[in-house]
Symmetry: C4
């Protein structure tokens, strides 16, 4: 089964997810610069969410480069990932005007955690399907960065009822760490193109 349509469908869903998030940035009713002020936190949350979704797109892109086989289980693990990604716009729309409130901050973290777990499941299913000596197994490795992200999300969710701003800081920190594209897979890909 080809991976082409899986990529095309994922691209479509991620493209819509990343774009409809902007619908929660309602233009102000007034027409002065001052009216833009309530949009600022929403815009920052949109930027953070855009970066998170873009990170998943970039990593999904890298991951699929080393995938050779796609089976039914992979399709569903991928749909599971898309489901969590599709919740990002709602979580972001709630967080935007409530950036310092515990419940929206924790909820945003739950969506990040769910997405991260879904990506981990997809990765493990692909590694299992390709075997321990496959390029994808080498590329994924011990997945320390992925596991650390999940732990950070759990900490951020736990901390949100007490110090919500610390949780937001942790989300930003994870985004910054992932901003650097997944070198592991690029390392596996590059020597191959040299040989």
């Amino acid at each position: 089964m080809s991976r082409g349509r899986l990529e095309a469908f994922s691209d479509g869903v991620i493209a819509v997810v990343i774009t409809i998030m902007v619908l929660s940035l309602h233009p102000p009713a007034g027409s002065s610069l001052h009216d833009l002020r309530p949009l600022v936190p929403k815009l920052l949350v949109y930027l953070l969410s855009f970066v998170f979704v873009a990170i998943y797109w970039v990593n999904h892109h890298h991951l699929m480069q080393v995938v050779e086989r796609v089976n039914g289980l992979t399709l569903w693990a991928n749909a599971h990932l898309l489901f969590w990604l599709s919740l990002t716009p709602v979580a972001a729309a709630w967080l935007g005007p409530h950036l310092g409130d515990s419940a929206p901050v924790a909820t945003y973290g739950v969506v990040l955690l769910g997405t991260g777990i879904a990506y981990g499941i997809l990765t493990r299913i692909l590694v299992a399907a390709h075997g321990p000596d496959s390029r994808i197994a080498m590329a994924v490795g011990r997945d320390a960065k992925g596991n650390l992200s999940l732990v950070t999300y759990v900490v951020a969710i736990a901390v949100a009822p007490v110090v919500p701003w610390l949780s937001v800081g942790l989300y930003v920190a994870v985004a910054l760490v992932w901003f650097i594209p997944d070198r592991r897979i690029e390392h596996v890909l590059t020597p191959r193109s040299d040989s």
Copy 2:
């Protein structure tokens, strides 16, 4: 005529359908966890609808693997399927806050039934175009699971005015049955890749 653009267009429509459904999950006005409570049934309906649309994407993906010819009739049968799928977000948005009410439950079933019939018509047109000995004819076979689903939808619609929750249970049951990807077509495909 190539099947590539038919797949691309279907992927695009299904990707948008599956994603704009999330627009009916309006974030709560308040900022406490308690404010999330009315979102719970909507989220469950979103999950069920996401699974239904994803099932159609997965089955469409499997079906197209064994398609060799696409004619004008196929394009319209496919557009007919996409029309019914595009009604899912409205039906889901009505069902979300009225999970125990007869009319929204029955309406949701009508959209499921229409989508199922449209998929059946597309299948039959493709089988007719490829002949009774084609791989697609073998893959589709007697389509017992598809027919059983249609009967279940009819029963659920009939039951909705009396016991709406039973209808919802029937929808969930059908989704669970289809959750398992279409083995018939995988069976036809797998020996081919071995030979």
Copy 3:
């Protein structure tokens, strides 16, 4: 310049256009079957608009089959077509609850007319770029059906202030005529695949 990305972009825009139209079908506030009644005319307008956009997708699909060269002018003629198609959701959203009113009926016709003219321009630019003996020139021919549609739209717009229902009937009639896929291009394609 390849036509692949032109098709992909057009598919993307048309897929979003055809799907976001459904956003104007707001679910009723109440939960009885009776509450569905105001949705019926909107649903009919949605169906008509879905068919119109699907006709353009099918014809665009057919047209691109015989295109060999894409230049800058073609890209803009195609963007012009997509612009008019993108106005369909607004025109449909206005027509839905005002199916018997002159202004919304005439406005819907203006959008249909603009889309038809844009498609005609795209066709002529492609024919000019390929020469009078090209397959696309033969496939398009005198374009009697296209010209007749434009005349019908003009008549419908002129009639709308007096008998809006007649205009709606004319729109339905044009849709039915185009529902049959573009045989001219299929005729040009079919002998070629035989030889």
Copy 4:
């Protein structure tokens, strides 16, 4: 790393951006032609924004034709461009009903400027990755038109608090200049197809 999926994802995002802009064209509540009047400025802003986004799509299409290598940095430079493009619908929705007001006019210019800078960064990263003698370096050249556009946006933003209509005129002027597709890259491509 292939450029195919980068193009597909960009096409998806741009297709959604260009189409959801139309969602801010709410149909009028009334049903007379007179009710359409407040829609006219919104429609003009939609047309201008559609042209701007279409220009980026056409230029992106041309640019990618001469790209041979895509690395992680390119993916992020492209995501950065898509981020600014995705802000166009909000900026346009604010400008629509406030076409003569300083703040919305200046904000629209800031989004145009950000998009222009992001496109310039993407271009420079691609040129750096391909070397000074590459086809893409020749195609981009000194990028006088791009730089002039950025200067014009800065002037328009500075002028907006005083004469907002002049700024709108400058935006229209830039759009008209770019409307002509990027001849530089077509020049580089054309001799190649002759040789």
